[in-house]
Symmetry: C2
Subunit: 154 residues, 2 copies
């Protein structure tokens, strides 16, 4: 599950001051921009983004995106804030560095194993040619992905 969908969905109607307004000690009106994304019961999320980005930057960021994109914007900011608080030196850039390294390792492993598959196919083709010679059978197309029935060659 990815970093965005792991997080809880936006809550329904908010009856209490949202986590942001509660922390900032201000009135939480019906038109509070933060309330739908920081319900009272998820105070930690706001504490995190407030510490890392600052409330005013969170608000500015939400104002720059479409309303339909605000939930994902908050989730990604909560994720980044949490990564930064866990690892103040590298934050989520550390996760990116780690994943980039992993991708390179997997790509190298794939290159190696692909080369091995080609080599193995060539060896099978050699074996098949030998068997064709032994049984004086007409040449067949090189063996690649086709399945064969060894019993018929004996």
């Amino acid at each position: 599950m990815d970093v965005i969908s792991r997080m809880a969905p936006v809550g329904a109607k908010i009856n209490h001051p949202c986590a942001a307004c509660r922390m900032l000690r201000r009135r939480c009106g019906d038109n509070c921009l933060l309330a739908p994304y920081f319900p009272t019961q998820e105070a930690d999320n706001f504490v995190g983004v407030h510490k890392v980005f600052g409330s005013s930057n969170v608000i500015k960021m939400l104002q720059t995106v479409k309303e339909t994109e605000r939930e994902d914007t908050v989730k990604s900011m909560v994720y980044e804030a949490s990564a930064r608080l866990r690892d103040p030196v590298y934050g989520s850039a550390g996760a990116i560095f780690h994943l980039q390294k992993l991708v390179k390792e997997l790509e190298s492993e794939l290159d190696l194993i692909r080369a091995r598959v080609l080599e193995s196919q060539e060896q099978q083709n050699q074996l098949l040619r030998i068997l064709m010679d032994v049984h004086h059978l007409p040449p067949i197309s090189p063996f690649e992905d086709i399945m064969f029935d060894c019993e018929n060659l004996i």
Copy 2:
């Protein structure tokens, strides 16, 4: 090259107000915390972190880490700020999501190709057994990674 080492190293002695002090219109003293990491000529880096994290949060973050870790801290914050300004909805979490997806795809591809290697090895073993029978040779150990000389089997 990773996200950290791509960036320029910390500059030498600063003679002008650093990019941070210049933007914040304050005196840049010899003991300015930001000067070593935001030289005058790299103003964009500070503009980015200021917009996304806010100057006071950048300073707080630098104060929480060891001096030897400050350069990497700034570089990772500059990277994250740049990612957030480029993609206000997903920021660097978007890059993480993309890389996680890529890792899963590469792992699935590796699993598939490993299964194909095993199948191919089993087919080679079958072919070798048939050749052994044809030439009435004593059984040999299953063919796996060993190289063989087909000429000797004819």
